[in-house]
Symmetry: C3
């Protein structure tokens, strides 16, 4: 692997890491984890085998990313974000559940779509999807799907606003919005926000 | 100590660790910590001197376990769970509180009973007990005692359902329930759920 | 640097650390971070360049302290506390926001005043100030300013009581309170609590 920076105090056991990716101190990327190119994997991050991370993804310090988690390109995962992959966890050495943990049938997937941002200290219940360019606020607990372009926060996280790909809040007039910052254009149909395209110049 | 796996990048200063226990990278077990047999102590976990952990316990990555915390056999502590042991913390070098911190009188205990599960990203206020086989949901803040077999979540954590030893939600008919998954049987008396025994075959 | 304790498994790249400060295992203090004297920087703490920490400060395990964060003397930062410094985070490699991240104009400051305590597992939205000797409870999400001497908790954190410099809850009679523990005296004017001085002996 060339063009990859691995801090001398990181542990990297995967050989499926894209060019230009940087992995910082005390991070641990296990065998079987897949990470794309030009990612930034922060200090103390843990990526388990079976996790899949796209390209141009920023993962801030101490995030915990398990088997069953998929993070698409250009996403931002803030510091101390914790994913989950077991809906009803018990100690696997408890006799009663030994059979359940004998296969990987218990793993529940989670999907973070293209360009989404997850704020600091967020916990995500497994089995949910965070839509493209959605934004989850600091300290939220995400317990259900987050639609594309939604800003959510709180416990449980609820929709509070709609945000542009650049991160600014959109002001809709009837069903249309143009970002005051970057000029990207959107349309809202019932519960769905659709990107129409970049600034018209 | 034989039959104990200690990752080369872990720091283990305690000699009171049971056979079959595995301690992973960047974990730190301090002198005076007690850990039973067949435990799994995850990447980045910190166990302070004076903490007591039973056998067959799973402690996922980055949990922080202090003096005053006791975790019984077969418990599951999810990733990024943080315990506490000081009800009114101040910097101990502040003149006004120097006397308070001169002894260990300030340490408030916390108890996690047999088979309980604590979800990812949970914070626990000190002085509470989580009852046997109770389950605390992702991202909850536990501020009071959790009864045995209760499923709690939210901030502060509230009782939402009753769960079986195997983790499934129980459906009570009058005061009796049989788990649809594993057949264990329970009885409810006022506020208490009591285990009656395993499946009758 | 003399009189500074640095654990052999810590990484310290800053040379601006005061006498008597101790930095524990797996902590990482980056170049450009400023830390005063007699601080205790816990296991796994991360301090970014540009962060400023006063003297006699306790920072418990795994806290994440970024550029833009200032922590004054005698403060207590509990375990797993996460700060933030970006109000609308996106992956900086996303074309649309590359210009925004080209300078440090996006950094939003946060200030923890003299003697304040931040509880375990707290997340702080950037741009806020926690007033002197205020106390933030376990698991709170701080989304607005916290007045001096206020006890706040919940999501979002709300004022629940007023606390003394020593940490005990104050009982006001009309606008005046004397701490039953240490004798410090306070006066309340509208929304402000003012310290009048120590015990009269």
């Amino acid at each position: 692997m060339n063009d990859i920076f691995i801090h001398p105090q990181a542990i990297v056991e995967s050989d499926r890491i894209g060019a230009g990716t940087r992995i910082w101190a005390f991070a641990h990327v296990m065998k079987g984890a897949v990470i794309g190119s030009n990612c930034n994997i922060g200090n103390g991050v843990f990526v388990e085998g079976g996790a899949r991370i796209g390209s141009n993804v920023t993962i801030k310090n101490q995030c915990l990313i398990w088997e069953g988690v998929t993070i698409e390109d250009n996403a931002f995962i803030g510091p101390n974000v914790v994913f989950t992959n077991d809906a009803r966890p018990r100690s696997p050495r408890l006799d009663l559940v030994r059979e359940r943990y004998a296969t990987k049938g218990w793993v529940v997937p989670t999907l973070i779509r293209e360009g989404a941002s997850i704020g600091a200290g967020v916990s995500l219940v497994c089995g949910i999807t965070v839509g493209e360019y959605a934004m989850v606020g600091t300290g939220a607990v995400v317990a259900r799907n987050v639609p594309p372009y939604a800003l959510v926060y709180g416990v449980p996280a609820r929709i509070m606003a709609t945000v542009c790909r650049c991160g600014l809040t959109l002001q809709f007039q009837r069903a249309a919005a143009t970002c005051e910052g970057c000029g990207n254009r959107y349309q809202r149909d019932t519960d769905t926000v659709k990107w129409l395209g970049p600034k018209i110049s």
